[in-house]
């Protein structure tokens, strides 16, 4: 038994290393695109600790947005989540240059919520961005569709939670 001690210690060290290496910091939330039937290898990362949204060779500083009933950000794309039970959130509101519309069954506070965002006005020379968020009061952000209307094309991304962490309104605090 004595000679097993170093082996046990080694196994313990390796186990601790693997567990720590596999853990995603709670301040990071990953959104995946379904690509050819599997999660994309390059997730979009919402990095709350550094206040940026990252992708492959791109990062953008978030512009946070908050009201009495939602929390989130509006740059680089609008993504706000209910900070209260959905039946206590109005059906429409304006925040930081965006008009939001929320659709949710009023009878069931745990039902899925759809939040659509569009710019109140489009400035010349800018690329307006629209989003539609699917949110579960019990499971957090499930999916978001982001559409950027560039001059010569519309770039639409359908992103789903990679399942690493739940993104809730409280995550932004």
């Amino acid at each position: 038994m004595q000679e097993n001690v170093p082996m046990r210690m080694l196994i313990a060290v390796v186990a601790v290393f693997l567990v720590s290496a596999c853990q995603v910091p709670r301040s990071e939330f990953q959104l995946c695109e379904i690509n050819h039937g599997v999660f994309d290898r390059e997730p979009t990362v919402i990095d709350l600790e550094n206040g940026v949204v990252r992708g492959k060779d791109v990062s953008n500083v978030m512009r946070m947005a908050r009201s009495d009933f939602v929390s989130g950000f509006v740059k680089p794309f609008p993504l706000v989540l209910p900070a209260r039970p959905p039946n206590e959130v109005p059906a429409q509101w304006d925040l930081e240059g965006y008009h939001f519309t929320m659709s949710a069954p009023r009878s069931d506070p745990t039902a899925l919520v759809l939040i659509h965002a569009e710019p109140v006005r489009v400035e010349a020379g800018t690329v307006p961005t629209y989003s539609s968020v699917v949110f579960s009061p019990t499971k957090g952000l499930l999916a978001v569709q982001v559409s950027s209307h560039a001059p010569d094309r519309v770039i639409t991304m359908d992103l789903v939670s990679c399942g690493t962490e739940e993104l809730q309104a409280s995550s932004f605090h």
Partner: protein
């Protein structure tokens, strides 16, 4: 140099940005003053900070001059006599050959893409570690040739000086610059690789349209068809 970018008082526009012909960089990071003369740009891309475009200062190495001349031969022929001085983006960061190489390439891209191609965009050179610090992205490594980000509200294209392929062929550097510039045209969003490769394909198309070659590395399809690219060389 990279660290100063993240200071709160850094502003790309306060520094010789709108008058690239007449202003020089007091720190020695002079603008390239390139002028196409037909088939030979040897006498056009050297700089010494005074913007006269002479060659005696040997601001670019012989290999770089040969690379630029060879890779951009058709472009130079088609733009004989054009003054490219105001066509480049402001370049910050690493000094020396790589910075001057990127300056010269950005001028060709700017001249090909038309006026305003670099409006509001600065180019920052830095190592992988410096770009990780700039972008707060831990995934940046020597495979990351370019990066589009914003610093204090200013648009910045970061060019990785640790990616050797970028500096081995002018077309490679041009492709990276166009790729990152397209990120801005597409709204600056993070793009999943399923969409990202479309952007890279478009960068290559534009490169060919501009008469600047193909950029070296064609897409051949990676694992199970997820856009994979061989290293540029």
């Amino acid at each position: 140099m990279m660290r100063r970018v993240v200071k709160d008082d850094f502003n790309l526009y306060t520094y010789a940005y709108n008058d690239p012909v007449n202003l020089s960089d007091p720190s020695g990071l002079a603008r390239v003053c390139a002028k196409a003369t037909g088939t030979n740009i040897e006498s056009c891309v050297g700089v010494d900070g005074n913007g006269d475009g002479d060659v005696k200062d040997k601001d670019l190495t012989g290999n770089q001059i040969a690379t630029l001349s060879q890779d951009f031969a058709s472009f130079i022929t088609g733009h004989s006599g054009a003054n490219l001085s105001a066509s480049g983006a402001e370049v910050f960061g690493a000094t020396g050959d790589k910075a001057n190489f990127i300056r010269a390439v950005s001028q060709f891209v700017g001249a090909a893409a038309g006026s305003g191609a670099w409006k509001g965009i600065g180019i920052q050179l830095g190592s992988s570690a410096e770009i990780r610090n700039l972008t707060r992205d831990p995934s940046v490594d020597s495979e990351t040739r370019g990066y589009f980000t914003t610093v204090n509200g200013n648009k910045v294209i970061a060019i990785n000086t640790d990616a050797p392929s970028t500096f081995s062929k002018a077309g490679n550097a041009a492709r990276t610059l166009i790729h990152e510039r397209l990120h801005d045209e597409w709204g600056g969003q993070a793009l999943p690789s399923g969409i990202h490769h479309q952007l890279d394909d478009l960068a290559r198309e534009r490169l060919k349209t501009y008469g600047l070659g193909s950029g070296g590395c064609e897409r051949i399809g990676g694992f199970l068809g997820f856009g994979g690219y061989p290293p540029c060389n």
